[in-house]
């Protein structure tokens, strides 16, 4: 097990370096001058030059890149070009909101997908199966920017059960609609995967044996079938977990949810290089760590993988 963890941990460094280098190049190469966006059009050429020098933007790109790397190694992500606040502080303020949203979306997706997928697999081609798969199809087809306002219209305006937007006092009520909006697509994918995995597992010999031994059906399904069908789902949840963090941008904008996605978009629009780099670094790190956890959980769930690695 330790080998699995160590091997995966070693991958983190080159991946993070690669991602941060790529983002550094992209954000510096796209058109748009941060000085123009900061100073507007009234500032004189002298003032523009002074600010450019002060922010280090007059230096060659490779020098700026080296400075960025040196700081990043020390854990210093620099300061925002716009408000001069440390990037780590800005991210620290936003990360909890995004983590809460992504976590809640994950819970919603799993909580809905597992029962739907299992029920569909137990009665294939029944009305239950049809309804589950229809829901999955709708879930994966509806874009967030449409689903979000639709949910607000239904549950906030017409029924009056939930708040429209924002984080309010931090109560769970504010989290429900954004989490449903963000988690629906993942729920749809997981439902299909659960159904497919369960259908395959239920045809296995050991399931027939379990039934022949006279085990009650819920033990056969819940313990023997679902446990094995979950293995490929873990990989998918790991991958989608990272995607939830980065994919929260639209949901955060719709629900005025003050998270990392909103910060990243704003920073890109303002060409606030250090903030963009910091945000992407955190998102990349989340992806890599999520994948590492997936591999470890996979090894825990499936002894064959564990033994192969060792």
């Amino acid at each position: 097990m330790r080998t699995v963890v160590l091997r995966r941990a070693l991958f983190i460094l080159p991946v993070i370096w690669g991602v941060s280098t790529f983002v550094f190049l992209i954000i510096h190469l796209i058109p748009g001058d941060p000085i123009d966006l900061m100073l507007g059009e009234t500032a004189s050429t002298v003032d523009r030059g002074a600010l450019r020098r002060q922010l280090g933007l007059d230096r060659p790109l490779w020098q700026q890149y080296l400075t960025f790397l040196q700081r990043a190694v020390r854990g210093d992500l620099g300061r925002s070009l716009h408000n001069r606040r440390p990037v780590s502080t800005l991210i620290g303020e936003r990360l909890p909101a995004t983590a809460a949203l992504a976590g809640a979306a994950l819970v919603v997706a799993i909580a809905l997908a597992l029962p739907l997928g299992v029920l569909a697999s137990l009665r294939p081609r029944s009305w239950l199966d049809t309804v589950s798969m229809l829901l999955a199809l709708i879930g994966v087809s509806i874009p967030n920017f449409w689903l979000g306002p639709l949910l607000i219209l239904g549950f906030s305006l017409h029924l009056g059960w939930l708040p429209v937007s924002g984080r309010g006092d931090g109560s769970i009520a504010y989290l429900i609609l954004p989490a449903l909006t963000l988690g629906t697509a993942m729920m749809a994918i997981l439902t299909r995967m659960t159904r497919a995995g369960m259908l395959e597992t239920l045809r296995e010999d050991y399931i027939r044996t379990a039934r022949a031994k006279g085990l009650v059906e819920w033990v056969v399904v819940g313990k023997h079938a679902l446990g094995n069908a979950l293995i490929p789902l873990v990989t998918l949840i790991g991958l989608q977990g990272g995607a939830l963090l980065s994919g929260a941008v639209i949901t955060e904008t719709i629900f005025a949810w003050p998270g990392l996605g909103d910060l990243t978009i704003r920073a890109i629009q303002q060409r606030d290089y250090p903030v963009v780099q910091g945000c992407v670094l955190v998102i990349a790190l989340t992806y890599v760590v999520a994948n590492m956890i997936t591999d470890v959980v996979y090894a825990v769930l499936d002894p064959r993988i564990r033994f192969e690695s060792e």
């Binding site: 796209i30 906030s156 059960w161 009520a173 704003r266």
Partner: protein, 517 residues
């Protein structure tokens, strides 16, 4: 959806207490929805519209512009101009900062010297570099000496909000985090990019605002702004609802939809260095080929007034006797033929030439682009629309990397804006002559309008400048936006200002029946 319902019911049973942020009934709280957060609460740094509008509530300038863009005293009681470059302001003595300290001439001195200090790195410094000195003559008198006569000095420079100097032992005040002003509202707290809370300044030198508190909520999505309004969580939305969403409020008796002519000016920018667009006849043909009325009617739902120049009708410097370009495709075709761009196949599919039209990703802006594309196709001009995110779009416009684009000038007050957008010295990076238009005679007129201190002399210079721009068309005027405010009917006493700012919310009152608990 059924499952969503189930999950929501479950959560509702466990945690949902109240879905609205209803204020305490005994306190009159006005909740305003903004589309973007103010970037800076320190007026030396804020360039965006939201910062400007919020700063007006926290601070005061020496003078301000009234609803008709006339200069009226604010922190100054009066002023003398012994010569064309000297201004002496007599200050009010009954003004106190939000922390209780009295306002004096030293505060004015600090505001302008700190702004002009290169160390401060204020983006506004370039607009104030005509100030040669600021001297405190007495506690209630301050003198400004300019390097040369500058007619828009009062309207452009003296409206700058005055800020307090640092306290003893403090190098700088962090006004972005804890703004202190003399204005009608006092800063209470902010959550960056989420909300900003202000309370009425009971000691305000004019009169205490009628509402007790103002809460700005940042709601980036237009649909959600509408939902929050309908839900009862927002009381005022001003110029932040697109026309198609506004039409949904038309019959709702909960809201008072107010409209008034605005000063924001939308135009099509043209690159004067482009080999096709440098022909004045081509520019005139474009103006004739664009159906402004149809655009206003169908895209903006009637919420704009056709414009023939930057200044709105009613402005003291507005010149009505200028060339106008009614929608006339036939005339447009004749002008294009005369300019040497005949249609190769008459009514056939081939175009006379193709132009690239750049726009931001603003939804209304893109729709406007599509309608223009159709209009111009009718006269044989093919338009390729390119939509970019703001940073890229603005970068291209500043760099002159465009043929056509459309944008809006916000906050048009002094006619000196012509210098800023059309003078040959204002070609970027040092100005906003983005179309690179050069006309030395126009330059001379704009210099004259800037230096002349007598209003009639300025009016004469700008009249001629408007006549030239209307015939030369360095840009194509489209319209002045109509301001639209949606106010909950439980509030009264609001009159929507032409500049579309929030200064007038001081007079908003909550009806007494709603104040009772």
């Amino acid at each position: 959806m059924v499952l969503c319902l189930g999950v929501i019911c479950l959560f509702s049973l466990t945690g949902c207490t109240s879905s609205t942020d209803s204020p305490e009934a005994s306190t009159a709280v006005l909740r305003i929805g903004l589309d973007t957060a103010p970037q800076h609460l320190d007026p030396r740094f804020g360039l965006d519209a939201a910062s400007y509008k919020v700063s007006q509530l926290l601070y005061n300038g020496l003078v301000r512009l009234d609803a008709q863009a006339r200069i009226v005293p604010e922190l100054a009681l009066s002023w003398d101009t012994p010569d064309a470059t000297t201004y002496i302001f007599h200050l009010r003595r009954d003004v106190r900062w939000h922390d209780g300290r009295p306002f004096t001439a030293a505060d004015v001195h600090y505001t302008f010297t700190s702004l002009l200090d290169p160390e401060t790195q204020s983006p506004k410094r370039g607009s104030f570099d005509n100030i040669r000195s600021v001297d405190v003559l007495a506690d209630d008198r301050v003198q400004f000496v300019l390097s040369e006569p500058f007619a828009p000095f009062l309207s452009s420079n003296m409206t700058l909000p005055i800020i307090p100097p640092p306290r003893e032992g403090e190098a700088q005040r962090n006004l972005d985090a804890h703004p202190i002003g003399t204005g009608p509202f006092v800063f209470v707290k902010q959550e960056p990019d989420v909300s900003l809370h202000l309370r009425a300044n009971a000691a305000y030198f004019e009169s205490k605002p009628s509402v007790d508190e103002v809460v700005f909520r940042i709601l980036p999505d237009a649909m959600v702004r509408l939902f929050e309004l309908q839900k009862g969580n927002i009381d005022l939305l001003q110029n932040v609802l697109p026309p198609d969403l506004l039409s949904r409020l038309g019959e709702d008796r909960q809201f008072n939809v107010m409209k008034s002519p605005g000063t924001n000016f939308m135009y099509v920018g043209l690159n004067s260095r482009d080999p096709i667009l440098r022909h004045v006849q081509v520019r005139q043909a474009l103006a004739h080929a664009i159906d402004r009325q149809a655009l206003i009617q169908h895209v903006l739902h009637g919420l704009a007034q056709p414009a023939d120049g930057i200044l709105p009708a009613g402005h003291w410097a507005y010149e009505p006797q200028v060339s106008r370009y009614a929608y006339d495709p036939e005339r447009a075709a004749q002008l294009l033929d005369a300019a040497g761009f005949p249609d190769p196949d008459g009514v056939g599919p081939q175009a006379r030439f193709q132009l690239q039209y750049k726009t931001s990703q603003n939804e209304v802006g893109r729709r406007i682009a599509e309608v223009m594309q159709e209009s111009l196709r009718n006269v044989g001009i093919a338009i390729e629309i390119r939509s970019y995110e703001w940073g890229t779009f603005f970068g291209d416009i500043r760099a002159g990397n465009f043929q056509l684009y459309a944008l809006t000038w916000v906050g048009v007050t002094d006619p000196d804006i012509f210098h800023y957008v059309l003078h040959s010295q204002s070609i970027p990076p040092a100005g906003a002559n983005r179309g690179r238009y050069v006309n030395l005679y126009l330059d001379a007129l704009l210099d004259q309008g800037r230096r002349a201190t007598a209003l009639e002399q300025r009016r004469a210079a700008y009249s001629e400048a408007q006549a030239i721009t209307a015939s030369e068309l360095p840009y194509i005027p489209l319209w002045h936006d109509t301001n639209v405010a949606v106010l909950r009917t439980t509030f009264t006493g609001y009159s929507l200002p032409p500049a579309g700012d929030y200064r007038a919310i001081q007079s908003i009152r909550r009806q007494s029946s709603d104040r009772a608990s």
